[in-house]
Amino acid sequence: MTNAARAILVVDDELEACHNLADIFSDLGYRVEIATSAESALALAQHAPFDIALLDLMLPTADGIALFESLKTLQPNIKGYVLTAYPQHTRVVSAQAAGVTNVLAKPIDIGKLLVILAGPNPPSHESSSCAS
């Protein structure tokens, strides 16, 4: 299975941060869509499936963890990664309970993010291809 089959939703209220992740993951063959608010992210998720959500913690009207919970109700198999410039924020401790796979501190180490995305929680379709 190639990256071309995988879709990433990037949500950050800072447009430049969205553009950068979009450029990096598009170059790697992912389908990437960006949103700068929780509302527009949910609107996108209603129309297209995503394998991965990269979510900024501090968004204008909701936080990335609450947004991930909403995304899960629309797309139960989506994997969430929260990115934050404020890793000591009290909300971070609730990320795991909300089903977020990982929390990464900004400035993001993309090399590390790619390793995390590759495993130990590979998407289900990759697991099945490994098992067969």
């Binding site: 941060a17 968004l59 410039a85």
Partner: protein, 392 residues
Amino acid sequence: MSSSPTYLRFLDLRRYVDWCDDDAQRLRVLGDALAPSLPALIDDFYAEIQRHEGTLRVITGGAAQIERLKASLRVWIQELFHGPHDEAYVQRRWRVGQRHVEIGLEQVFTSMALARMRANINQAITGLDCPINERIAMMTSLNKALDLDLALIEDAYQAAYHERQQRIERLATMGHIAGGIAHELRNPLNVVRTSSYYLLNARNATPEKTREHLQRIDQQVGIADSVITALSSFARLPLPEMKPFDVAECVRETLENAALPPTVTVDVSLPADLPLAHGDRHQLTIVFANLIRNAVEAMPNGGLLRVVAQSSGQQHIEVGVEDCGVGIAADQLQRILEPFFSTKPRGLGLGLSLVKAILDRQQGLLHVTSTPGQGSKFCIRLLAATERGKAT
């Protein structure tokens, strides 16, 4: 040799209770008379201490520590009776109060322990073989000496406690500030780092994309630098250069430079006969820019921004900046002027505290009203230049 402020205060307190040489003499006699009763007094003192959780928990060294404390108390009582009540005596009492803060002993227990000690010594005095008026005089002298000791310990306790609280608050504020700065710097650094990653690793980077990322890095370095600039301008706000200036012109310029989103409609009322204001035009531009930016950010879906200037009597000019945005909750309204307090996901939280600092230095005022869900109004009052303008 000059006396310490603590000793001078002790001398002052001594005058307050009419301490005299007779008191010192009576205490010496009393000390000799009570010498046989001292061990029982000391045992009672520490037996009581061990019955209270609040006192027991600060005694962490067990029986050995109790024995050491008993020996110290014996010396303390000897000094109380026999003196000399000099500067060194005062410093030792002062040190007791400081020590109590260090070990976390509440001051009420010192007051109660001394009350118990006082009651027991007074009881012992009643059993002395001397005339009743002599015994009453001894009790009075003893009470003066104990009250002076207690005052010194309390004074030291309060000073040390206050200092400790300030230290804790300073550390909490520093942590808060450091967190805010870290957040504001990591966001532009994040863009710089991810752009660098793209430039170093992208397989299909076009020349346009490469240029776009280099420009983005440059732009984000500017943002990070502006965070530092905001901090240093807040920390070192220059003294205002007070001159007559045209408020209407200043507001109009600020609105032109504000790059308002098309969803925001502006209603400006700047009367032609508005008098000149007396203030620092440059600093007040920062005030208007902050208030307008806040108003716009309070209306993420757009709305009406009203800016109204008017005379207020002969002496003042008022400028109101009003939005119909999200409003500010009552508990947040009390805190919005605090430095590093923000209701927004981005920003250092310095805008309104800078506004307040600028207005304070120009004898200006800021008044805020807000209704959650309906909007906020920030009204500033500036000095009018009518008289001053003519004078200068």
